[in-house]
Point group: C2
Chain length 442, copies 2
């Protein structure tokens, strides 16, 4: 009954029953998501999809954020999901390392634009999809990710199916079947981190989840017990699970509220190190840096063990490169992870002088970085809670500044102001047509 | 090097190096596949996809077998793959319970039509894709299927990527990446057997594999070690594997030659029981059947344990229903698995009088069925090798008769004759345009 109960929980949660602070946080997710999607919309992997959809001759149903081209529902979901993940700048559910908005928001935006849905209806579907995704993730964590499943896509496909199903108005049986159809497509491997393949994981999960809901709406039946069956999701995709977490405290506790936003364009586990290296860069002149000794939680080396990155993209998965870039540039944003910058001579020289100490007692949002100067002095920077962590979240002002930084290069100031204003009053929008139109440069 | 070696094996195997008998068997696969695809092209799940592609406004690039509508490359692959699997009448690699042609043929037909490829080029890509699929399947069997992975789609996606990549002319690196992109989409659960969701597994795997090759051709990079990596396919999708099997005896031993064809429209494990019950039906008048005692290999109850099927489709997964239908009708084809026939009064009455004995010493293609008559006599039918098994294969004449049975209702006699003739000389075709046009009624 786990699967059916989750569906009933969703159907028993009208928009006006959702607490105000949850709705506000959902809008932060949308704001952050739109900024990274617009900022990523010219990436090489997005261009590859644009070229594919052109060759396939897809129809022009809905908007591709930040671009003049349009695509059908499924392709727009795929492309917008990819744009929002390419810079590793999307939001994160810290406990499970899940990036849910890059999966769910593309679905509700494409479908909501197509159906002329109201802002409130879109936000409602978004919140329920996020909550389903994150709770399923909790139930199989941490063994799921640890085994090698890229949780963003593997549980994201369920959230996408719920979000799409709610917007489409599916009934209880149809939503249960949509989850079954979603689950038989659950895929995405941690093996792909550091390659271009990982970049489409959220978009593909969103597309598959939307596809599942569209099929269920056409009478396609499925397993009624995808989550809890002996040959279902929890058993096949994790070594330990607690499916009781899926519906526990539904309506009184909200996983969506735990979503954190990234000030830096790489994996969240590296953010404390970046904070510390930026601070050291302010304290110590470039010419005096001798070596760096970084003490980290074990997750850091599990997830960022690329010894010899071959591209700026791969450098995001090397703690050494990220530390060196943060020290010299005082940032770890899109500009740092170009091939040219990541492999600049001073970066390569410092990379060889970084050593890593793994310490189980160090928390995931914590680090200590010790810099040894060329003349043997020790300067330490300790970070208790990285910027963007639960205990040190990005402020609304910082999120808006991030939006401007990512969107301003391609859009005019007026469009950006209008976009921000519309997202902040999202639940009052009659439709999102003007909002998405404003993401495209004239 | 397992993944790269497989790619090299494929690239080192030109069409004219493939033994004549392998090419002939590949054409049997195509013949059988076309018959079941045409025969399944009006199924409810195919109609659902037609309705979805219409709503999405996909372009009309290539043929949907047996139907006047056309679709883009990816949608045609999905729909043709679904048509060919809906009646459980497609071919089988018996050792691994894989149905590869329903995944691979839709890819090479859609892409080959689009690219104006020759029959020889299409057959070449088909054979290499099949061989890759089946060998990867061998390397993770039997633990892969036993855990709950529907091998037809999970390994099929790799074969589809190879087949598409060969037709697209990808180089070594691109083919390796295509396998990576395919592998991160590997999905499909045994949980779905007996539901409509299972019916699209092959089509979706074919679509995902084609998509992977198209992406790789556009410069999308991926893992180079999808099969053998610590977080790769073999480790995540099986508890025991032997990746040495992927390339062992490549070119001298052909898995494709082990493909068997089905005389009956349900799971292969039930075929010996059907043979036996048909024989009993000939020997014993309907009015004298008291009960049936069926002795089977353990796989039969693992895969066909539906206790109370709710549809003709689900009845395919109930050994009791299948036995009763075969006894009364002397067949187990599309007509038997309609809701009306599967739940007819005499079927329901006999279903309650079937008992199953599981015996580890009984082979998968073997059975003994004992019929106890209403006046207490015992009549036994023993089957050593079911029709359609390796040791008792369907003849070419039987395959042609199956083709006529499935295609004749919708097509004229002339089209059917032309189709059969063209498939039998497939490698001599300049293009497949006329062949696929002949699958569509005028």
């Amino acid at each position: 009954m786990i699967t059916q109960r989750l569906v009933q929980d969703c159907l028993d949660t009208p928009f006006d029953s959702i607490p105000r602070d949850v709705v506000e946080h959902a809008k932060r997710c949308i704001l952050n998501w739109m900024s990274v999607a617009i900022g990523g919309s010219r990436h090489a992997s997005v261009e590859a999809f644009i070229s594919m959809k052109d060759e396939l001759g897809t129809s022009a149903q809905v908007t591709i954020l930040g671009r003049p081209e349009r695509a059908d529902l499924l392709w727009a979901t795929l492309i917008n999901g990819t744009s929002s993940h390419v810079h590793d700048f999307d939001d994160t559910h810290l406990e499970t390392l899940n990036h849910p908005t890059s999966v769910i928001a593309p679905v509700v935006f494409a479908l909501g634009e197509y159906l002329n849905s109201s802002g409130a209806a879109i936000l409602h579907a978004f919140i329920l999809g996020m909550e389903a995704d994150l709770r399923i993730g909790n139930s199989v964590s941490p063994s799921h990710f640890d085994s090698g499943w890229h949780i963003t896509s593997t549980t994201g496909v369920f959230g996408a199916a719920i979000a799409a199903g709610i917007l489409l108005g599916l009934d209880e049986d149809e939503l249960v079947y949509a989850l079954g159809i979603a689950g038989t497509q659950a895929s995405g491997l941690v093996e792909m981190l550091g390659t271009m393949t990982k970049l489409f994981h959220p978009g593909k999960a969103g597309q598959n989840g939307l596809w599942a809901a569209m099929l269920a709406s056409r009478g396609i039946e499925s397993s009624r017990r995808i989550l809890e069956s002996d040959r279902g999701f929890a058993r096949l995709y994790s070594s330990e699970s607690d499916l009781g977490l899926v519906s526990r405290h539904w309506g009184s506790s909200w996983e969506l509220s735990k979503i954190a936003f990234k000030p830096y364009a790489c994996g969240i586990v590296l953010h404390p190190i970046i904070d510390a290296c930026i601070e050291l860069g302010r304290k110590v002149p470039d010419s005096e840096v001798g070596a760096l000794v970084i003490t980290v939680n074990p997750y850091v080396t599990t997830l960022t063990d690329k010894p010899n990155p071959r591209s700026g993209l791969e450098a995001k998965y090397s703690v050494r490169y990220v530390a060196a870039l943060a020290f010299y540039d005082g940032d770890a944003s899109v500009a740092q992870f170009t091939d040219a910058r990541a492999f600049a001579p001073e970066i390569l020289a410092l990379v060889d002088r970084v050593s890593i100490v793994v310490d189980e007692s160090v928390q995931e949002d914590e680090t200590s970085v010790r810099l040894i100067t060329t003349d043997g002095k020790l300067v330490e920077s300790r970070v208790k809670h990285a910027t963007g962590s639960i205990d040190n979240p990005m402020t609304d002002e910082a999120l808006i500044a991030k939006f401007r930084k990512l969107a301003d290069p391609s859009l005019g100031r007026d469009e950006v102001d209008a976009l921000i204003e519309d997202v902040l009053r999202f639940e009052a929008l009659d439709t999102i047509h003007q909002l998405v139109a404003n993401t495209v440069a004239n």
